[in-house]
C-alpha cells in the first residue's frame, strides 16, 4: 500500500508532490479507511522520503477550513521543496517532516506510558479533539489524541498533530467542555509550532557551531538525535509566553467549537487546588506557570469578550467516564 515515488528523479519536485498528493487523495477515496490504517510506516527509514508518501496518505483528504477563517500556512515552501536530497530541513521543515518528528517524540512518550487500553475512551477523546482542531488554523493536520497510563496530571503536544494527556488529568475532568479546553491548549501549541521552534533553534545552533556537519544533517537518524534521549523533550519547558498563548488559543478554539468557554479555566481552577507538593503535578508545575498566574493572565486577555457568549455547551451527559 505504498505509492512510493522514491525512484523519481525529476528535479521539478513541486509538480511531483502535487501529483503525488492527487494520487494519494484518489487512492484514499477509493480505498476508504483501509488506506488510513495501512499507511503506518517504519520510522527508521522515515525521513528518507518514503515518509512523505506514507504521511500524505494519512492526512485527511476531506480537510476543509470550514466554519473558521483558517489560513493554511503548512504548504511546504519552495525552499523546502528544492532540496534535492531527502534531508531534514531544519530551517524550514515541511509538514511531512513536522509529522515525522512528532511521531518519533510521541512514540518515545508512549514508551514511557502506553495508551490506556480502552478503545471507547480513545475514540471519544479523538472525536472531541478532532472537532476542536477543526476550529484551529491548521484543520488539515492528521490530528490524533491519546490518553496515556499515568496518574500524573499533564498533557503533551508534539509537532504535526500529536496530543497526549494523562489518565490522571482526564480523571479530574467532569464534562466535555473541559476536555475541549485542555485539548485546545495542546492544539494551540502545535498550531503555533512551539515545540518545533525549540528543536529548530537548537539544531540550527548545532549546525552553526559545527557540531552537526551538512553530511550528518542528511543522516536519517537525525530526528532521533535531535530530540535527545527517550521522551526527555516532553519534560522540557516552553517560554511562559508560549503557555499563555496556548491558553488563549485553547479557549478560543473550544469557544468557536460551541463549547462553554470556561472549560479550560475550570481545569486550571482544579489544578490550582491540587497540593503543590503532590508528586502528580511536579512535572506540570515545573514546566508551566502556576495555575493562578495562568488564570489571571487569561482573564486579562478575555476582558469582556465572553460577556455575550451564551449557549455554549458542557455536555456532561455524554462525557466518557473512566472505567477505573
Amino acid at each position: 500500500m505504498n505509492i512510493s515515488t522514491k525512484t523519481l528523479t525529476t528535479p521539478d519536485l513541486r509538480t511531483r508532490s502535487h501529483k503525488n498528493l492527487l494520487l494519494s487523495t484518489l487512492l484514499v477515496s477509493l480505498l476508504g479507511s483501509v488506506s488510513l490504517h495501512s499507511a503506518a510506516f517504519d520510522f527508521e527509514g522515515a525521513v528518507k522520503g518514503a515518509v512523505k508518501d506514507a504521511v500524505k496518505k494519512q492526512i485527511d483528504p476531506q480537510a476543509e477550513p470550514s466554519a473558521t477563517p483558517a489560513t493554511d500556512n503548512t504548504v511546504p515552501t519552495a525552499a523546502a521543496q528544492t532540496t534535492a536530497e531527502p534531508a531534514f530541513n531544519w530551517k524550514n521543515p515541511s509538514k511531512e517532516e513536522e509529522i515525522a518528528l512528532g511521531r518519533e517524540i510521541t512514540g518515545n512518550l508512549l514508551g514511557a506510558a502506553p495508551l490506556v487500553k480502552d478503545a471507547a475512551l480513545q475514540k471519544y477523546v479523538n472525536s472531541v479533539g478532532r472537532w476542536v482542531a477543526s476550529q484551529s488554523e491548521r484543520p488539515d493536520l492528521p490530528w490524533r489524541f491519546g490518553v496515556i497510563e499515568s496518574d500524573d496530571l499533564n498533557a503533551f503536544a508534539a509537532p504535526g498533530g500529536y496530543v497526549m494527556m494523562t489518565k490522571g488529568l482526564y480523571r479530574k475532568l467532569t464534562n466535555e467542555a473541559q476536555l475541549a479546553g485542555v485539548l485546545g491548549h495542546e492544539i494551540g501549541h502545535i498550531v503555533k509550532k512551539h515545540q518545533l521552534k525549540v528543536l529548530q533553534k537548537q539544531q540550527l545552533l548545532n549546525i552553526g557551531a559545527g557540531l552537526l556537519s551538512d553530511k550528518y544533517a542528511k543522516d536519517n537518524k537525525l530526528v532521533s538525535k535531535a530530540i535527545g534521549s527517550g521522551a526527555e523533550i516532553s519534560a522540557r519547558s516552553l517560554d511562559k509566553s508560549a503557555e499563555y498563548e496556548a491558553d488563549r488559543l485553547g479557549l478560543s478554539y473550544a469557544t468557536r467549537a460551541g463549547y462553554e468557554p470556561f472549560g479550560l479555566a475550570d481545569v486550571l481552577q482544579t489544578l490550582g487546588q491540587t497540593n503543590k507538593n503532590d508528586g502528580s503535578v511536579a512535572l506540570l508545575f515545573k514546566t508551566h506557570p502556576l495555575p493562578e498566574e495562568r488564570l489571571a493572565t487569561l482573564g486579562d486577555a478575555v476582558g469582556g469578550r465572553l460577556d455575550n457568549i451564551k449557549n455554549g455547551k458542557t455536555l456532561e451527559n455524554r462525557f466518557y467516564v473512566l472505567k477505573n
Binding site: A40, F43, S66, R103, E104, T106, G107, N108, L110, G111, A112, A113, L115, S127, V128, R130, F145, S150, D151, T166, R171, T174, N175, G228, G230, A231, E232, S234, A235, S241, Y244, E245, R248, S252, T255, R256, G258, F262, D266, Q269, T270, G272, Q273, N275, D278, G279, S280, E292, L295, A296, T297, L298, G299, D300, A301, G304, R305, I309, K310, K313
Partner: protein
C-alpha cells in the same frame, strides 16, 4: 405532643436549609485588583473593589460572572478574577456553588497518594520508542467529517469568535 414535635421540625427546616446553603458558599481569593458591580454587566454601577490576594465568599455564578462577598460588601465580578478555594494548598475542596455549576458536585475527587504511576524526567529520558503503541494511536485518527458528525450529535454549533490576543502591556 407528637404534633408539636412535627411542628418544631417543620419550623426548624428552613433554618437547616439556610445553614446548608451558607455552607455551600465557597471560599475564594482575588487573582487581581478588580471592581465589583451591582449587576453582572460591565456597565453596571460599581459597588466596591478588592485587592489581589483578598479572600472572599463566592455566592453565585451567572455566565461569565460571579457574585462575591468581601468584608466590605457584595457585588459581581468576572470569574477569571477569582481563584476558587483557599489560597493555601490543601488538596481538593471542589464543592459548593461552582461545583454544582460545572457538574462537579458529588464526584468526590480522589487525590493520588501511594503507588502513583508518574512521569518523572528520568522515566521520560529512559523511554524507548514504541512502534506498536504509535500505530494503535494512529488507528484512532478521525477525519474532519467524522469530527463534524460527532459535533452534530451533541448539537454543538460553531460560533464566530476571533482568537484572543495577548493583553497590552502584559508580561508576554
Amino acid at each position: 405532643m407528637k404534633k408539636l414535635t412535627y411542628m418544631l421540625i417543620a419550623a426548624s427546616l428552613p433554618a437547616l436549609l439556610m445553614a446548608s446553603l451558607s455552607i455551600a458558599a465557597e471560599t475564594g481569593s482575588a487573582l487581581k485588583n478588580d471592581s465589583m458591580r451591582y449587576e453582572p454587566y460591565s456597565d453596571a454601577k460599581i459597588t466596591g473593589s478588592f485587592i489581589r490576594g483578598e479572600s472572599l465568599q463566592i455566592l453565585k455564578k451567572q455566565g461569565a460572572w460571579l457574585q462575591v462577598k468581601t468584608k466590605k460588601g457584595t457585588g459581581w465580578v468576572r470569574l477569571l478574577s477569582i481563584k476558587r478555594g483557599v489560597s493555601t494548598s490543601s488538596g481538593n475542596q471542589v464543592s459548593g456553588v461552582l461545583a454544582a455549576a460545572s457538574g462537579r458536585a458529588g464526584t468526590g475527587q480522589v487525590v493520588s497518594t501511594t503507588g502513583i504511576r508518574g512521569l518523572s524526567v528520568q522515566e521520560l529520558k529512559a523511554a524507548k520508542f514504541n512502534e506498536t503503541e504509535v500505530k494503535t494511536l494512529e488507528g484512532y485518527t478521525l477525519s474532519s467529517e467524522q469530527g463534524k458528525k460527532f459535533a452534530n450529535t451533541g448539537k454543538l454549533k460553531t460560533i464566530a469568535f476571533a482568537n484572543l490576543k495577548a493583553p497590552q502591556g502584559a508580561a508576554k
